[in-house]
């Protein structure tokens, strides 16, 4: 049973968050182990497994981007686990800028100054960061908006292309996130939740 089937919804990306939550609560009320403590051990094991499946499905589907990552895995028959779907890949038009950034980052690493950077270099990196962040958001909007809609309305033939587009956008997004995190580290602005960006 895949995550869409757990919720009894078609394999579509346009999911109403409030409706999904309502269904999640309803299904939890029906199948949570808390309400089946008196059941025989075998039945309890089934209930536990079903409850774990429901929670995993909710987690995968509630976030619009996570939903796409899951869909790509599902379509490609890689329904193993959560986590990275695609290898990060630099968007081709940004390669030159990336080269510059990597150089500044290396400089920062080898410098002994606290924070590792002079004011000028910091400003340049910060400007890069802003551009990359804008680009990162752009990829997310594209994934959630036009690409998700294309998936939902497309036929089998278009859908294959959409999957390819999803993968490219996800790879670019993952790459941008990594570089932004690296810049944050170099700027000494490691923020809370930093780890979570890398991980999820």
């Amino acid at each position: 049973m895949d995550h869409f089937e757990v919720f009894g919804v078609p394999r579509r990306l346009g999911i109403d968050a409030a409706e999904l939550q309502r269904k999640f609560y309803e299904l939890s009320r029906r199948g949570h182990p808390d309400f089946h403590q008196g059941a025989p051990p075998e039945r309890q094991a089934e209930i536990l497994a079903a409850s774990a499946r429901l929670n995993a499905a909710y987690r995968a589907l509630r976030d619009p981007i996570g939903r796409i990552e899951y869909l790509v895995r599902l379509e490609e028959g890689r329904d193993t686990r959560e986590g990275a779907t695609v290898k990060p890949k630099a968007p081709p038009e940004l390669l030159e800028e990336m080269f510059e950034i990597q150089e500044s980052l290396q400089e920062a690493q080898s410098s002994s100054q606290p924070g590792g950077l002079e004011a000028g270099a910091r400003a340049t990196l910060a400007a890069h960061r802003e551009r990359l962040l804008a680009r990162h958001q752009e990829e997310e909007h594209r994934l959630r908006g036009p690409l998700s809609e294309a998936w939902d309305s497309g036929g089998a033939a278009e859908r294959a292309d959409v999957i390819t587009a999803f993968k490219e956008a996800l790879a670019a997004r993952a790459y941008l996130r990594t570089v932004i995190d690296d810049i944050d580290e170099a700027l000494g602005e490691v923020r809370e939740g930093h780890v979570s960006h890398r991980r999820h």
């Binding site: 609560y25 949570h32 008196g38």
Partner: protein, 609 residues
């Protein structure tokens, strides 16, 4: 279904509660003296063990055999705790991943000590209901990892309890609040107890309590506040009296208890005076709330980062929080309240007694499990990411932190050498990218794989975190469909065999009977009075005449002889006799001390001007 009680197994105090079936209201069960709180202190004496308030009174007398704050050692390895061991008067030794406490020639593990506390609560509940109690819900800090949860479960088993659920303290508290006045919205529960700190962010809607994110520090609480005060007092004593008391176990316990009491008083008062009589001198010190706050500021502020991280993980800003709830005795400290209020921009709730609310919530969860409540449901999360070590020591996350539990993850494993029959895996918990920086949970060995060329076997391993937040692992060889044998070597924890043995041995830690306890108490009291009188004779002998001195010395000798007997009535009587003989001297000394304290205060005031 048989009755299930709710237990808050705290660092400082523990409680047991239940839901009244007629009224549906959760209630704490008091002891025979009407006390709800059972101090989580266990003292090992020749007559057996003492638990609770009686054990707490042994802290100064028998520092080496009286164990407190054992929760900080639960499920921990020696490396985790070695830095704070110098503050503990009892001996803690490394032992195969976990730690053991050495009491004389006896060794006990932290779960065994906790089991003694649990057993006492179990008996309290049994006396209350007049029936045997076998099932309990026990609370743990939300940020407890797998080993700490497992250790708590083990403690329950050793105490003869079937732990039907381990529930997180802040979420338990939210259930207790929710039952009283269900309000929809997003709630932040800030729980600062004796030894642990948790922050949980929940969404409460239609009777569902969904935890969105949790964070915390399992080594931060009132104990650390007390320690900061004690360190400061040690410096002050060294300055004023020229002695360093840091290595004197009894003096350190006196200081710790005095610091704790002063901290508590300063929650209501602006200033307070500490008076601690030592052998050579009596120490006086006035502390203001401002001074206390300067000592605690760094510690209190260190709770704010976990709060911000939990908010970030929940995808919320502090303005999105509708209500803030305070839990745990340490939230009585005004500085804590101020900081929480500043962070969330809201006046926090504390209508329910912060010491009792977790136990009440545990009782509610117990009632849900027993089928007594069907319109409330708690959906909790796992606080730490679960992963496996891959090539190069990098962690591959299988279940990210703040995933709703129960949850599972599947992973395929194969062999790297032809004919390989065993595959190892190392499971870790934590947020770091390198396995050695994370918490090692266990090493698993998948065995009985049919010999095949490398890469051919497909072993599917399912990692399941149950509703207790505890990991279960199963493996199947996909080609044959047969379950692979798994041998688990928990990095920190007791084996099944250990727990079984401890269940059998637990009767050796039976509570001393009433008669023995009364005798110990009488001797204790006598010891305290003897020490005080010896001190008084040393420091204030010039205050009374030779005759009066003679009377006191005679009464002192009489008590010394009585103390050596087993006659507790005689010990009590002679203790009262000595007390009476020294009343006058005590009065004179108190006057002198007051004058002294006033003089030093005046001097301080002059210095300030």
């Amino acid at each position: 279904m048989s009755r299930i009680v709710g237990i808050d197994l705290g660092t400082t105090n523990s409680l047991v509660a239940y839901v009244d079936e007629k009224t549906g209201v959760p209630r704490v069960i008091p002891d025979r003296d009407g006390q709800a709180l059972l101090p989580s202190v266990v003292s090992f004496v020749s007559e057996g063990v003492l638990v609770g308030a009686v054990a707490k009174r042994q802290l100064v007398r028998r520092p080496e055999s009286t164990v407190y704050s054992v929760k900080r050692l639960m499920g921990r390895g020696y490396e985790d705790v070695k830095e704070e061991l110098c503050y503990l008067p009892f001996k803690v030794l490394p032992c195969e991943g976990i730690v053991k406490i050495l009491i004389g020639s006896r060794e006990v593990t932290p779960p065994e000590v906790s089991a003694i506390v649990l057993k006492s609560l179990k008996e309290r509940a049994e006396a209350h209901f007049g029936e045997s109690i076998e099932k309990a819900v026990i609370t743990v800090p939300a940020y407890f990892n797998d080993s700490q949860r497992q250790a708590t479960k083990d403690a329950g088993r050793i105490a003869g309890l079937d732990v039907v659920r381990i529930v997180n303290e802040p979420t338990a508290a939210s259930l207790a609040y929710g039952l009283q006045r269900i309000r929809e919205g997003v709630v932040a529960v800030y729980d600062l107890g004796g030894g642990t700190f948790d922050i949980s962010i929940l969404r409460v809607q239609d009777g569902v309590f969904e935890v969105l994110a949790t964070n915390g520090n399992t080594h931060l609480g009132g104990d650390d506040f007390d320690r900061a005060i004690v360190m400061w007092l040690l410096d002050d004593i060294r300055e004023k009296h020229g002695v360093y008391l840091g290595r004197d176990l009894e003096a350190m316990q006196e200081l710790r208890l005095a610091a704790e009491a002063a901290k508590i008083r300063l929650s209501a008062e602006e200033r307070t005076v500490l008076t601690i009589p030592f052998d050579a001198f009596t120490y006086h010190r006035e502390i203001t709330r401002g001074e206390l706050e300067r000592l605690l500021e760094r510690l209190v502020d260190s709770t704010l980062l976990p709060c911000r991280m939990a908010l970030a993980d929940a995808g919320l800003a502090s303005a999105d929080i509708d209500e803030v709830v305070l839990v745990g005795g340490s939230t009585r400290v005004p500085l804590v309240r101020r900081r929480v209020q500043e962070l969330f921009g809201k006046t926090p709730h504390s209508q329910l007694n912060p010491d009792e609310v977790v136990a009440l919530g545990a009782a509610v969860q117990a009632h849900i499990l027993a089928g007594g409540i069907t319109n409330m449901l708690l959906l909790d999360v796992t606080p730490l990411s679960l992963g496996i070590e891959t090539l190069g020591g990098i962690v591959s996350v299988l279940i990210p932190r703040n995933t709703t539990i129960p949850t599972n993850a599947r992973e395929l494993f194969t062999t790297s050498v032809d004919g390989q029959r065993i595959v190892d895996m190392h499971v870790v918990q934590g947020e770091r990218e390198v396995a050695k920086d994370c918490r090692s949970l266990a090493r698993f060995e998948l065995s009985g794989i049919d010999p095949m060329p490398a890469g051919m076997p497909k072993i599917e391993v399912v990692f399941l975190i149950d509703a207790n937040g505890i990991l279960q692992v199963t493996a199947t060889e996909l080609r044959t469909g047969k379950a692979a044998a798994i041998e688990v070597k928990p990095t920190y924890g007791l084996s099944e065999a250990d727990v079984g043995r401890m269940v059998e041995e637990s009767f050796t830690y039976a509570e001393a009977d009433v008669e023995a306890r009364l005798l110990i108490e009488a001797r204790n009291e006598a010891d305290t009075v003897i020490t005080h009188v010896e001190r008084a004779l040393g420091q204030g002998r010039q205050l009374v005449g030779a005759d009066e001195r003679e009377t006191i010395v005679t009464a002192l000798e009489t008590l010394r002889r009585a103390r050596a007997t087993d006659d507790r009535v005689l010990i009590r009587e002679t203790t009262t006799g000595l007390n009476r003989a020294t009343e006058h001297l005590a009065e004179l000394m108190m006057d002198a001390a007051l004058k002294g304290a006033l003089a030093s205060r005046r001097a301080d005031e002059i210095m300030e001007k």
